[in-house]
Amino acid sequence: MEPSDLYGSVGIALFALGIYGATALGQFMRQVLALNVAGTGVFMFLIAIAHRAGTPVPDPVPHAMVLTGIVVAVSATAFILVLIGRLRDLSGSSSAQDDRDD
């Protein structure tokens, strides 16, 4: 198996795990972490497809996508962490629980 295939598959697996964690886990912090795992999975997949057999130079377009994605992920993570912190301050000392009430 080509290295890029391996990285690609791992990327997809990480993405699936991360999404599962973000939806199924109960606490905000853990969901944020799971989301970052999923994001990493997507980036791995993108890097993998940049290296396709037969081309000597990697494709720059997926690299651009990854860079954009990293910027977005970092800023979004920072923002959500601040919000979780603020929520903890406002709602008392108990840890931020994700109490879903559909």
């Binding site: 905000f28 377009v61 979780i84 929520l87």
Partner: protein, 500 residues
């Protein structure tokens, strides 16, 4: 229908001006409302110019900076995008007017006092994101726009600074990020399989293969989460209920429609050969469930903003019924025209309804439906606006909501899809029930009228103007539908290849 190589400058400006305005307001930090209003008028004027240009010359295409795909960003505006842009500009303009009254600097330093300075930059970012999303011509730019949209929306929700608002914001942001990530993965799949990201190019390449199915599923799931389609709608009511009223108006009217708009484009032109009737039934059935579930929950809502938020869940459900109705129908325009009409009519009516809810909250200090008294005597303009908006939400003639309902029902009965037709009609009846729940209170005999605080006139009049717009849409249907078809945006690619 010539697509000019250089393109209209309005296309770039309509995205650049709000971005610049946002930065400027953040830096200047004084007279934010004035700057915000000036910027809003400018953006609305630009949108108007672009629409005029599309009507005269046909679709417009522009490569930013002169760099072409795949590395450059292409903007494309046909009748469909022109219409969405126009709707956005109209609603956004009046949300700005309303916001300038709501976030008044003379207000005591309550939770809303210092936040005017943050409302305007964030609002400009949101508007920029919307415009960028509407004009994008490739799937990755849409991702960027979706992220910007999500972040600014969440930030705006937190302006209330109360615990319920922040909690709702966290949930909203999580959902938004999961959705975007899903969308991004889908984009990655598309690039892996097709080697390109532009709409036009993808439309001609994509065929039913495993990677395209996977991409379609991932992107659609992400977009459905962002549009709060049942059963992924749980984040919307708390967020829209606890946000400040102008923010709720913008979120319900515009933001949830943006992801729907993207999904519309994807299903009917990019993935045109890939979509099947069975696949289209999934969003359709979920949409039908949304109509019923959202309306039922609106019936038992305790507070006015909560009721209006659940109404959004229900109305979004109507929109997603366009997928089965449009896919079955070769020309698709009856169903798609109906859905787009609903987007605009609902945007006007829902924004007006949230503005009225905000007025009630500001005037009486609460918006509990059971305790509403004397609204008609003290705020007749607001009550009238709510009544007119209600008529459009129920779908009674001669409003825009009726035109939408007529078109969707026609598409359903052409199928014939009896289930969807029944849901469309039942949704109207349920909407009658929850609208009149509020409206009938204005006829009750009232003895004591409760505490009342006067609110700025512009807050009432912006609500009224928007609700009258939803009525006006009902009377200009033929012209609007004709404009939307400029550039024949959604003629099925497969049909075009089949030839006459």
């Amino acid at each position: 229908m010539i697509e000019r190589a250089i393109g209209a400058p309005e296309m770039a400006l309509v995205v650049a001006v709000p971005l610049l305005a946002a930065c400027a307001i953040l830096l200047v930090r004084r007279r934010t409302a004035v700057l915000g209003m000036v910027a809003s008028l400018a953006i609305a004027a630009l949108a108007g110019c672009l629409i005029w240009r599309i009507a005269q010359e046909g679709p417009q295409r522009m490569n930013l900076g002169g760099w072409s795909a795949p590395l450059g960003i292409t903007l494309y505006a046909d009748g469909l995008s022109g219409w969405m842009l126009g709707t956005t500009a109209l609603i956004a303009l009046f949300v700005s007017v309303y916001g300038s009254g709501y976030f008044h600097r003379n207000q005591p330093a309550t939770q809303f006092g210092g936040t005017a300075n943050f409302f305007w930059p964030l609002w400009m970012f949101l508007w920029a994101a919307l415009n960028a999303l509407i004009l994008s011509a490739d799937v990755f730019n849409i991702y960027v726009a979706l992220e910007l949209l999500g972040l600014s929306s969440v930030a705006l929700v937190t302006l209330s600074q109360a615990a319920p608002a922040v909690s709702a914001a966290v949930r909203y942001l999580l959902v938004s990020l999961i959705g975007s990530l899903s969308y991004l993965m889908g984009t990655a799949f598309l690039y892996a399989g097709a080697g390109t990201l532009g709409f036009k190019e993808l439309a001609s390449i994509l065929h039913p293969e495993s990677f395209s199915f996977a991409a379609l599923a991932l992107m659609s799931t992400g977009l459905c989460m962002k549009s709060a389609l049942f059963p992924l709608h749980f984040w919307l009511p708390p967020a829209h209920e606890n946000a400040p009223a102008p923010v709720s108006a913008a979120l319900s009217a515009l933001v949830v429609k943006a992801s729907f708009f993207v999904m519309l484009r994807l299903w009917f032109s990019v993935f045109d050969r890939v979509v099947t009737e069975e696949a289209a039934m999934v969003p359709g059935i979920l949409g039908a469930a949304a109509v019923i579930a959202g309306s039922v929950q609106a019936l038992s809502a305790q507070r006015l903003k909560q009721l209006v938020a659940y109404s959004t869940v229900a109305q979004v459900g109507y929109l997603f019924m366009v997928f089965p109705l449009g896919v079955l129908n070769p020309s698709s325009w009856t169903a798609v025209g109906g859905a787009l009409y609903l987007v605009s009519a609902h945007a006007c009516a829902k924004a007006a309804a949230f503005m009225v809810a905000g007025n009630v909250l500001r005037a009486y200090g609460h918006d509990r439906i059971e305790d509403l008294r004397g609204v008609v005597q003290q705020m007749p303009v607001s009550m009238f606006a709510f009544a007119v908006a209600g008529v459009s939400l129920i779908g009674l003639p001669p409003s825009g909501g009726f035109i939408a309902k007529w078109l969707l029902l026609t598409a359903a009965l052409e199928g014939p899809e009896w289930g969807f037709a029944a849901v469309i009609v039942a949704g109207g009846l349920l909407a009658t029930a929850y609208i009149f729940r509020v409206f009938s209170r204005s006829f009750r005999n009232v003895t004591d009228l409760g505490d009342f605080k006067k609110i700025p006139a512009r807050m009432e009049w912006s609500a009224l103007t928007l609700s009258l717009c939803s009525m006006l849409l009902g009377l200009t249907a033929t012209h609007v539908l004709e404009f939307m078809q400029a550039g024949t945006p959604l003629i099925r690619v497969a049909m075009m290849e089949a030839g006459p």
